[in-house]
Symmetry: C2
């Protein structure tokens, strides 16, 4: 006998939690499609050579390689060190490969969404997953891509999180050009040094101002206390309204080319986010955001839950210069944003912001007597044709037991079709949510239940 | 520069084909939920020890093992032959592990659906995939499970394939007890020999009657020509209507216990399939169906497209005695059925039974002048709030080019919001499908387009 268990670091849910998770996936997908993004799915396995264009580094150590028995034997014979196949560790590299491979068949700007699982052999830790869903949107241009698209992504993310209904949230914006220009003005002119300072600044929320101040004035950086004070004041900037955001940008003054460009881009993005109807409470400037990844070049995003800042960013991304330089000579600038749904779901569960869902089954048809089974099955067919998710109790048992099952399973409507009801052409319905009972003509049953469900949906 | 390409044996689709595929997945899921099945997702990786309870055999050779760099190094040090993790090769073993692991938290009969990709290191071949979707439903009982559930699965499959709208189809039914009883009566009493004869009989459609006759009368089987003739006449039995199916069962006579039991089960299943409203043209007895897998013990199913018999079974399954004997002492009988959607989609494309879908984007808002961009974005927000998937052209270009883009992308409605329209509070709509153009008050636009889409959906 083998103990049935999943490997460590994966999330597996019981059905009612799976339903809650699936509803989040559906909401995200519906909103991605509302904003005109097209679906893409890529294989979970990529050729190692294609996936790991840069070798070494933390990423490669976390990659899962894949081999069948046959190819393991062949690898051993050939003395091959690295297997031919590996699991994707994000959706960005597969996107780059996809766009480069199908470049001639795609229309640009190419707007795609992708919601699939990715794999990382992370150190074991609570809330860290080795298999997790990413839900990504990106817009990819050919040769160039207007900064206007940088405003569309936050508008879409606003729609997603509004409908997910997990509390007040703020989409925070910054711009790498603005950051770079500002640092140049502080005497941090060297590109690599800027990157290092940005990396330290990125730790501000996690490690605190003192740590960052000591690091930046210490050896290695050697910045003046004055410069560091200016930098820290700058990165603490947050806007409190649309007008305040514009004012804070104006207050940066003329500055150098890079700063001016960053300010102009952020201003345009802010104006268009407003034109797209996003309430000003839901977006803000945050000059501390740099994003760890090296490839962001313009707008960068993070999203936080106002009442749960400790969760960190639940949706991040930004603008990059060239998506697929490893695969194609075409220049493919883009902008993208990503929700790590598995971790977010875990966080929301921990914070009690999502609860176990009602069953996806809406109606249970009870059964007390074998003689009524054909009638029960016919009724089930009517309800299913009427758009209701319906389960039939297939073998007679005590009615109380059947009600108890419905209650524990989270099924809202329990239908009784006894001799009386069959004689009268009706059905008796018990609404377990409203603790209400009523009898309705059989021909009206599906419509009646649909109306009840729709009312609850709207009232929610 | 690295050539961007997918590994062999995977299906990757362009967006409009992905939309067609996604619609099939949605249709299948909707119908699975209509019949009261609950969603389950399991990790793509299982512990090897758990996944491969029986070692050796074709399955194990096809399994993909998974290792991170760290665990590869550790395996090499420890001299471990087989990696700890492997990719699932079907959804049945993960179901068994899931039910055994969560037994105490599940309600039985447990009705679950699962639609995920599975992995097999198959020999390379056209139309054979190493990564493919399976869409499974199963009902699992504890200790026992009424044969009535065996009727629910074909009713659900009928709903799925009716809505998928891929042509006339027949769900074919047989019963392993009936087969076994029949063979016993023909003097093939030994269990193992029966299995071997059944395996030969299973080749009937592929290899023809002559091949099977020669094999069964030849050495190894040594059946009499008379017995083989009776067997072949039997396995060629197909029913042509509900009444004919009952008559063909009655014609088998009394026979032995196993035959009688099989006949009784099939009769009950047929009656309940009819009670569930499945038209008699869509189901039939087929005594040749045995299914290759050894673990089916009662009802077995195959589904074929009437006009494309060469595609073989597009949906198969059956009744099994004990799902999870490797993981639990509980007896868990079940019945399940599975659609291999990736292969089916490929077959339907080859047979020209599915075509590239319209875009998931329903409306394109054109743009001729930067001055109108905020108005265009506001209109987009109105349409999205009104339930329409809407894309906005973000930078002005020639209107003809924008229309051409919509046409090639499969976007049905193109909206023009020029100076005139803005002044009048209207929008001009070109319906590319109906080649029709109209002007409508802006406040009516979302409703008007929704009605048009709904009409087309109903007319289809």
């Amino acid at each position: 006998m083998i103990k049935p268990r999943t490997p460590p670091g994966v999330m597996e849910l019981l059905p009612r939690d799976q339903i809650a998770f699936q509803r989040m996936l559906d909401t995200i997908r519906r909103n991605f499609e509302r904003f005109g993004f097209l679906p893409v799915e890529t294989p979970v396995m990529e050729l190692t050579e294609v996936l790991l264009t840069k070798s070494g580094g933390e990423t490669e150590r976390q990659v899962y390689f894949v081999e069948s028995t046959g190819s393991r034997e062949k690898s051993a014979q050939d003395g091959r060190a690295v297997p031919e196949l590996a699991l994707r560790f994000d959706l960005t590299v597969p996107l780059a490969r996809y766009v480069a491979e199908h470049e001639a068949e795609l229309a640009f700007p190419f707007r795609r969404y992708q919601m699939q699982r990715v794999y990382r052999g992370e150190r074991q830790q609570r809330g860290r997953y080795r298999e997790f869903y990413q839900c990504d949107i990106d817009v990819i241009g050919k040769d160039s891509l207007s900064v206007r698209y940088d405003a569309e992504l936050p508008a879409c993310i606003y729609a997603v999180f509004s409908e997910l209904d997990i509390g007040a949230f703020t989409i925070q914006l910054n711009n790498r050009k603005l950051l770079r220009g500002f640092f140049e003005a502080q005497g941090v002119a060297d590109g690599e040094l800027q990157a290092l300072v940005l990396r330290e600044v990125d730790k501000l929320d996690k490690r605190g101002a003192d740590y960052v101040r000591e690091t930046l004035t210490g050896e290695g950086f050697g910045l003046s206390a004055q410069a560091v004070a200016t930098i820290l004041a700058f990165v603490e900037t947050r806007s409190t309204s649309h007008a305040d955001a514009l004012a804070k940008l104006a207050a940066l003054g003329e500055g150098n080319d890079s700063l001016r460009q960053g300010v102009a881009e952020l201003r345009e993005v802010l104006e268009l986010i407003r034109a797209l109807g996003v309430p000003e409470a839901n977006y803000a400037l945050n000059f501390s955001i740099a994003r760890g990844l090296d490839y962001y070049t313009g707008t960068v995003y993070e999203t936080t839950l106002n009442d749960y800042p400790q969760l960190g960013s639940i949706c991040s991304g930004g603008r990059y210069e060239d998506l697929a330089s490893h695969y194609t000579k075409s220049k493919l600038p883009g902008v993208g944003i990503s929700i790590g749904l598995t971790r977010l779901f875990w966080q929301l569960q921990e914070a009690k912001l999502v609860s176990t869902a009602d069953s996806s089954v809406q109606v249970l048809i009870t059964q007390m007597d074998d003689a009524q089974l054909p009638q029960c099955l016919a009724l089930a067919s009517e309800l299913r044709a009427g758009g209701l998710n319906t389960e039939v109790v297939m073998e007679p048992s005590k009615l109380g037991k059947q009600f108890k099952y419905a209650d524990r399973a989270g099924i809202r409507f329990v239908v009784v079709l006894g001799e009386n009801e069959i004689a009268k052409g009706t059905a008796t319905v018990k609404d377990l949510r409203r603790e209400d009972q009523f009898e309705v003509a059989r021909g009206e049953l599906a419509r009646t239940l649909r109306v009840e469900l729709e009312q609850s949906r709207v009232m929610k």
